[in-house]
Symmetry: C2
Subunit: 238 residues, 2 copies
């Protein structure tokens, strides 16, 4: 796969600090090297979770059926649980929540505006695609956190079940109105670029851009594959 962000740059073999004997090992270690310091990690990730809550509740507000509203309210509660767990880590470091989150607010809100759908099907698809992709991304990035924090943050980011209930809401919508499929497939494809840019904005680049790209590329390839599997489950072309 070509680099997702610098398609024109020629690819070269750059030295890496980590052995590449398995894809999984390479992935975790490589992205971890680009992780920001814990306070920046937690501030950005927590601010992003507030946006996830906003995305889900926007879809919930506009959904016409109680069953969908109910599902989206519960899922928004799952995100809140993750947010509260991240908040706890911020407090454990004796940092002020607002101080660490505020610098990231403009970026994540701009991302939310760019990916907000016009009607509720698009809104719930936006939540599904962006939360799915970015959660996978931040779990990978957590590999760069020190010691115990890494485990606790990974746990925070994966608390509860979010993907399956949102999947079922979209599945029901498509079953009710099969014509939605092609529109939602295009919509979801449109979201991937902004979502990848939002992910990338969390990375701390080093002096050697070529080496950075070498580290980023396999991770984004895997994240895109996961996105494709998410779309496949809905019968949507990624």
């Amino acid at each position: 796969m070509a680099s997702w962000f610098r398609r024109q740059r020629p690819r070269v073999e750059a030295p890496t600090l980590t052995p590449r004997d398995t894809a999984a090992a390479a992935l975790k270690v490589d992205l971890g090297e680009l992780a920001p310091a814990p306070d920046v990690f937690l501030g950005h990730c927590a601010a992003l979770h507030l946006v996830f809550i906003e995305q889900l509740t926007t879809a919930m507000t506009n959904a016409p059926r109680v069953a969908d509203k109910d599902a989206l309210a519960r899922v928004s509660g799952v995100v809140l649980t993750r947010y509260l767990a991240l908040s706890t880590e911020i407090e454990r470091m004796q940092l002020d929540r607002s101080d660490v989150m505020q610098p990231h607010l403009e970026g994540v809100e701009e991302f939310e505006r760019r990916t907000r759908g016009g009607e509720w099907h698009e809104q719930v698809a936006s939540a599904h695609v962006t939360i799915g992709f970015l959660t996978d991304f931040w779990v990978q990035l957590a590999a760069g956190l020190p010691g115990d924090l890494r485990g606790r943050v990974t746990e925070a980011l994966t608390l509860g079940d979010l993907q399956n209930p949102v999947h079922r809401v979209i599945e029901r919508a498509i079953a009710t109105n099969p014509k939605l499929s092609s529109r939602l497939a295009l919509w979801c494809r449109r979201l991937v670029g902004d979502t990848m840019l939002q992910a990338r904005s969390a990375l701390v680049m080093h002096d050697d851009p070529l080496r950075d790209e070498e580290q980023i590329e396999p991770v984004f390839t895997e994240l895109i594959s996961e996105h494709t599997r998410r779309m496949d489950r809905l019968g949507l072309t990624a």
Copy 2:
């Protein structure tokens, strides 16, 4: 106090089933007589809680500061907890959530639209006034539920702390911009009529409208007093 809904109707002394020796006793028993059947009670009240979540999250989405977003996200989680507890009661009666809630959706969403503020200060004030008033109201109305359900619903409706955090958000906003006070006072006053109509829509009226009014009046007087205390605490004229 004059009747809040039929101000033109002459007041007469109508017989009541309950002793009126204390205001509190009269209140609880009287409104309980106008309570709907448990399935209608739970369906309406749960649908209303979805609207509360929407109100709080709208304010959260538009609040510019992380501290306010954080507070509103947590409070929205409190409402979700109450909603889930009401849902549990619906399931305990072996009823379908969607079936009992859907008939009330149009009414509560129309109420939400009528009371939605144009910017985030108004939105959070709307949430404060309407959730405060209607929670007090539904707690009173729960007196009409049978046996154990009454206690469990009253507990569900009062889980967690909602009023104080929302109060503090508005207090901070006014402290930052004292000019807000007079505008918010007017805005909150404007909300009371729609909020009382929403409350009243839950009551089951009997054959004798005069007697119904006699029963409703003292309860609404008390709810209005509570509303006035809520405004006083913010330094706003009710």
